[in-house]
Symmetry: C2
Subunit: 177 residues, 2 copies
């Protein structure tokens, strides 16, 4: 297994607990082997009807990152050495429950990446605040492709804050709403 | 850590590789401690603006499961000893990228559950094929709450098939679309 080859192990529960939204990063770039592990984690995600709508544009060029940061209204976005522009090439499939499959399927793939990143000592941050038209222009993304999220990736220099979350009893019910 | 208390460890990459969509299950129920670990994994998920829209109805009653299976058009759904009805109590927040946050946020929480489940020797299956109005009626879910997915949980008796996926080169581009 590639995980073993990289000599990396992390318990799934530990990864879930340690993941946080990183906003400050070292200058050094993510190693290609680690990037490959992240993309492999995304590759193995499940999706509706196995459609695998996820598409990623890996942006590491400094000038392009600065332009993406502008399109995301937040300068810190450009400080991440790698930005994954997370897209969906969807045929428009809507599940019987009434929701399009692509935002969910892309989210699963991104979540795999964020948890794998913890094991690789990398920080990540989901960014849903951006002007999709500007991102589309900057990267030449075709009209049919949806831009779902940006994911910042790099060696984080900030520290996790305690997670502020609802208690289980506040979001779980039994047998009936 | 609770993971240690349960004596459970699984490498994140191994969990990602081993997860599959389970459709056959043993009769025995998921232990409450394990269910608690799954819900804790969901609890720690990130969400847009930390909205935590996720809500879960845990259904274990046999008759209710049979009714959910009917609403999902597939008898095997009722054979899972536990069905998590994964909902979103959303205030309608739409991210600047143009997408509502709730399907993505609920998907992240569910993905956490599916990976934690692997470590607990449990199988899971995402179900997006269901009549939301019927599920709403069966469980008394209010109109404002979105029903996003069903997640089957139990001790799986089927075996994973090899994952049929795109190659990384087919879904990744560099610097530009």
């Amino acid at each position: 297994m590639a995980a073993v080859q990289l000599g990396v192990h992390m318990d799934i529960f530990e990864a879930i607990e340690k993941r946080y939204s990183a906003r400050r990063f070292e200058d050094r770039q993510v190693e290609p082997e680690k990037l490959g592990r992240l993309l492999e984690a995304a590759r193995l995600a499940p999706s509706a009807k196995n459609l695998q709508e996820w598409r990623f544009v890996v942006v590491q060029d400094e000038e392009t990152r600065a332009r993406l940061a502008e399109a995301a209204f937040q300068r810190f976005v450009g400080n991440a050495p790698t930005i994954l522009v997370c897209c969906a090439d969807s045929d428009g499939y809507v599940m019987r429950c009434g929701l399009p499959s692509y935002p969910i399927d892309v989210a699963i793939a991104i979540d795999h990446i964020t948890l794998a990143a913890v094991a690789l000592d990398l920080g990540t941050c989901w960014i849903g605040k951006f002007d999709p038209d500007k991102i589309r222009d900057i990267l030449g993304i075709p009209e049919r492709v949806h831009i779902v999220e940006l994911l910042l990736v790099g060696y984080a220099t900030d520290s996790p804050r305690p997670k502020n979350r609802l208690a289980v009893e506040e979001f779980v019910r039994y047998e009936h709403w």
